[in-house]
């Protein structure tokens, strides 16, 4: 569905079902250089099991207009505005990588509106190496290669995502290529600069789940420990044989973790 957020058109995938703002809402936020489609299986399953789903394309990503926003704080403010534009007062948020910081910051800014936080492939601080930042600025294809190599635990992803016969690895490369030039360096700079994570965690007043790829080389599981400590009562699920692209590498494991975390929609 298309929304008008801050005067610009924004796209949100609704899981293959019409969106109902009156239902229990779960909003998905993708990471750097990605779009809503990274959540295809988890969002589709939840939409067909009682949840109202919004998997947004952040500004400048996928089908959402505008330039990419240059800070996690601005993306969080935009996300809250997007929920309002969809008529949503309160929602669970699930974010991946950069999107996990956006969800965290949104929960810190508007604790009364966020019912639960799912942080997938997260880390705080989310430092981006100088080499990767430089590649993102100067040679995007090279940066895509680095990200792709560090995001996958291996070559084999049976039964595949979104189904048998698909290459998880090449899909991720093509999805990064599909975003507008210049997006990656803006996203990575935002991740690198974000410094409000612990304060946001302290302000958030909701249950939290961290889902981490045991073989993640982009956001190593150990880099999420500080955040887990500061989110009271948070749970951590480590997905074996998964890297940073864990929603595609181990879609059922991520779904199971979310199902164990989210309340029954009834």
């Amino acid at each position: 569905m298309l929304l008008q957020v801050d005067g610009r058109s924004a796209y949100a995938y609704t899981g293959g079902r019409p969106f109902d703002a009156a239902g229990p809402v779960v909003a998905f936020v993708h990471g750097a250089q990605h779009d809503h489609s990274v959540w295809i299986l988890q969002s589709r399953w939840l939409a067909h099991h009682g949840w109202s789903v919004l998997a947004v394309d952040l500004p400048g990503h996928g089908r959402s207009d505008g330039p990419p926003l240059d800070s996690v704080e601005a993306m969080a403010q935009w996300l809250l505005a997007a929920l309002s534009a969809a008529g949503v007062e309160r929602a669970h948020l699930v974010g991946h990588s950069m999107g996990s910081l956006v969800a965290l910051e949104a929960a810190g800014r508007a604790p009364g509106r966020i019912a639960g936080l799912g942080l997938v492939g997260t880390a705080y601080p989310m430092r981006v190496s100088d080499a990767l930042l430089a590649a993102a600025r100067e040679d995007e294809p090279r940066a895509f290669d680095m990200i792709n190599a560090w995001s996958h635990s291996g070559l084999t992803h049976q039964p595949g995502c979104p189904g048998p016969g698909f290459s998880v690895f090449v899909q991720n490369r093509r999805l990064m290529e599909r975003q507008r030039p210049g997006t990656l360096s803006v996203d990575f700079a935002a991740c690198n600069a974000y410094a409000n994570g612990f304060e946001a965690a302290a302000s958030a007043k909701c249950p939290a789940l961290l889902v981490l790829g045991a073989r993640d080389l982009m956001t190593r599981p150990s880099a999420a420990a500080g955040l887990a400590e500061r989110l009271p009562g948070s749970r951590v699920v480590k997905v074996p044989d998964a890297g940073h692209a864990l929603m595609a590498e181990r879609p059922d494991a991520v779904l199971d973790a979310l199902r164990g975390f989210l309340p029954s929609p009834a």
């Binding site: 995938y13 293959g16 779009d35 809503h36 489609s37 295809i40 299986l41 589709r44 399953w45 067909h48 996928g62 089908r63 040679d139 294809p141 090279r142 895509f144 290669d145 680095m146 792709n148 190599a149 996958h152 291996g154 070559l155 084999t156 992803h157 049976q158 039964p159 595949g160 995502c161 979104p162 189904g163 048998p164 016969g165 698909f166 290459s167 690895f169 090449v170 899909q171 490369r173 093509r174 999805l175 290529e177 599909r178 879609p251 059922d252 779904l255």
Partner: protein, 432 residues
Amino acid sequence: MSQPDLFRFDTLSLHAGAAPDAAHGARATPIYLSTAFQFRDSDHAAALFNMEQAGHVYSRISNPTVSVLEERIAALDRGVGAIATASGQAALHLAIATLAGAGSHIVASRALYGGSHNLLAYTLARFGIETSFVDPRDADAWRAALRPNTRMLFGETLGNPGLDVLDIPTVAEIAHGHGVPLLVDSTFTTPWLIRPVDHGADLVYHSATKFLCGHGTVVGGLLVDGGTFDWHASGKFPELTEPYAGFHGMVFAEESTVAPFLLRARREGLRDFGACMSPMNAFQILQGVETLPLRMARHVSNARRVVEFLAAQPGVARVAYPELDSHPDRALAARLLPRGCGAVFSFDLKGDRAAGRRFVEALRIFSHLANVGDARSLVIHPASTTHFRMDADALAAAGIREGTLRLSVGLEDPDDLVEDLAGALRAAQKGA
């Protein structure tokens, strides 16, 4: 570090898509000869049918052995995925049927495999899909043939019978300028010689029967989606960007940004037309792909040796191989096919139809049959087999002469192949 693949080509040929069997640790890919796969419970069943979870339901739609092959060829061709089909012809049909319907139009190279030409010129025309055939070397002809209802451009990496090299970057640019994809048949080249997606092609298919299988044992096809074409931006493919009543109103381009074509091809074309690959065949083709880099290197080196020999023989009028100075696409081949131009080519004997027959019948190693891409060397004489009803004028119109022979050079010792051909040339000339 910067490399677009997690591992290099030879490693991908052995490992992409496969892992030791979780149940028993079998290192080779098991042959899952099971028509259907048990659901964990009713909700799991519904989720699989509704594409909320990934998994196998019924082997016409997907199968664990077949999907290993699909992931492997996708990795080798740098595609977002692949669909294995009953044959190369089924792969071509699946690509077209997913994107075109009655009232659609295709622009195709006129230098096509005869089976592909038949499908486009006669069979699909019966279903309302019209094709314009153009000289693949004439960029203006490709452009001039475009119509508002054109849905794709189509050619072969190495055309039939003269090994015309398709200028993929140029034809892809023409296709994309018109908002449609370029489909390429890469059967003769395999991903080892060229990855068409790297040069601008959007969809690639193979008759896996040939070099991918490599041993002349089973028939199969593979259709690869490069994931590079933006169907949403094109606006010409409501099949992918509008709700599909045949699958719960799914909008494939909303589900997947980069792979909606494959979603629809599997959920509609494979489901409804049913031209799926058997897991037995997938296993055989996987065995072949494991040694593809080794075999293709030998196929090419043997072919070069045979080409060099034939080009120097007084009894040979012409050899059509793009690495020769005499071939019009020599420069293009050097740019697009630096590893070689494959191992299938034609040459013309000096002499009549009978000379061609004598040549074929004198060969001792080359097998006389209608196939290419076998480990064994193969030969066919079109004027006495596939085109035997045609007189000399009709043959000439098809680019074939009475003395034209097509070779598929195998993996034998090249000295034996050259000696076999030398003996057959003597036999052909003796009867003159």
